[in-house]
Symmetry: C2
Amino acid sequence: MVKIKDIAERCGVSIASVSKALHGTSDLNPNTAEYIRNVAREMGYIPNASARLLKTNRSYNIGVLFVDDTSSGLEHEYFSSILNSIKDESEKQGYDITFISHHFGKDHLSFFEHAKYRNVDGVIIASVDFKDPEVIELIESDIPTVTIDYVFDGKSSVISDNIQGVREIVNYLVQCGHRKIAFITGEDTSVTRNRITSFYKTCEANGITVRDNYVKRARYHLPKESGIATRELLALDDRPTVIMYPDDYSLLGGITEIEKEGLLIPDDISIVGYDGIKLSRLLRPELTTFVQNSTEIGVQAAKKLIEIIEQPKLSFSESIPILGHLQKGKTVKEIK
Amino acid sequence: MVKIKDIAERCGVSIASVSKALHGTSDLNPNTAEYIRNVAREMGYIPNASARLLKTNRSYNIGVLFVDDTSSGLEHEYFSSILNSIKDESEKQGYDITFISHHFGKDHLSFFEHAKYRNVDGVIIASVDFKDPEVIELIESDIPTVTIDYVFDGKSSVISDNIQGVREIVNYLVQCGHRKIAFITGEDTSVTRNRITSFYKTCEANGITVRDNYVKRARYHLPKESGIATRELLALDDRPTVIMYPDDYSLLGGITEIEKEGLLIPDDISIVGYDGIKLSRLLRPELTTFVQNSTEIGVQAAKKLIEIIEQPKLSFSESIPILGHLQKGKTVKEIK
DNA sequence: CTGAAAGCGCTAACAT
DNA sequence: ATGTTAGCGCTTTCAG
């Protein structure tokens, strides 16, 4: 590998001059600088990130924490899409992406230790258990962080606006004449709590009193669980006219059960998903779902983190909401 | 950040001893070593990967090249699933994952240069244009590489066995009584060529002469294109009884067109996908598709790369085939 | 068994 | 305008 010293020798200048020329800055003679740069290019010089880091304490490397005990964070389209846009935006700004884990050879390292070990300039945290002490340790450390879909006091985050999402869904349903609205939720997280609150609030605003047994808890991305909840809802005396699902994937578990009952969608019962997976428009009937803007979430997360890294003094901590939009498909019937 | 020097001072020993104690190796007095390790732990010592790398030239970092000019490599479930298992396996073995790009600040770096810049120990290459000179440069360099679904002479690769996949599909179709089998393929890649050859071969082995207009070219993951090809196939005088699609996602584009024609699946026409996306079992009718073992592909790729990195002398270049399995759903009719 | 010292490649103050 | 030099934190001969 050709290094600065090699260039210096070839050019007959000092390594300091080469370093300066390469940075374009400082008061080198423009001609010398130009000459050095040419030679460097010719020799195929590539800087060594580690050596530079050792001096500057800047790695231009961003850590991403995408863990899930089911080890499938990346298998959710929502998250892989976010990762993809984090990657695009970061690279555009000259940062690379390294996954943070807690492995270190055969040993265990906490997330914070791992981030330190790899010298990342900052970390974007998504799809983790935000109650995990290791996650909290990382967030409370001196490493810049941005969380996705979870807010820590005094820290920056990017939040898919679940309150808006559920509000738009419910309002649309009401507009279609529905008043018996059931809601199958995901496991208890802040995202879920926001959605539930928004659900009750919007129902109330529309003069609808929510029956307790219309709200069922399941878990995200587990069609089986949503299927069970669906069965329970269908068994009620006063069956809902529409069921809202925690995500599009779970909704399919619901469809299975609905069809088992011999019911037609949307004629006998309406359903609504969440996420807006790519397949949602290809399915028949086309899904009515709330599309989360995962690309924008990734972009904003990367932008915010880089801002914190590069201008810590000018960057205030904020929670950036990202709006989505309702995709009107064919799974909701206009009644009355 | 606490460093070796700090530990040395606290213990009243030299930094060399600390380093040795930390590595467990060498001929330090076991007690001293133990003592040093305890102090280190107590002080919360975390090694600095960059400093170590500078000396050892080993980063314990693996680069992954997942690019797509449509910038959606990660948005394909097949690839995000592979990435996920590469990540799991690598971390298990003490390696981290960094994405290779060709960005460097505002400048451009070739993939090879970028890999050098980040000092990765090796690179796993997937979902790229394997004809790209930059990709070839990287593969022909001295950096250990493993490619996925593409073979370079003398280099190691992990290959989803597309020959087997198509063979199993065709044999199954024949077994179900089909002889008029159409095949919509993806764009021209080695994967596609293997599939096509396997298609012709297996048909021939079953005494079936493939009609030229039964083979249509579309592109992967573009349901619209497969939809168009489907329309063309349906318009033929001698319509096929079954259509094979390049992937499950594209198949949905086919379904749309088939339903537009007022045909029923599988009664009027049978269809078969490829990939085995998670949704395939949830769709109705449940998809008949060939499930690629993406998890195993990722695991093997990581294992092979680490083997090349750690035992270059003992590792010979090989192409590791990964078998998948046929998932029999409800989209293929038994005829006659 | 332990320590001194060189140096990995680079940057940046400080000379000149 | 250019060069000297001192490290960044770590590993690793080589001496003692």
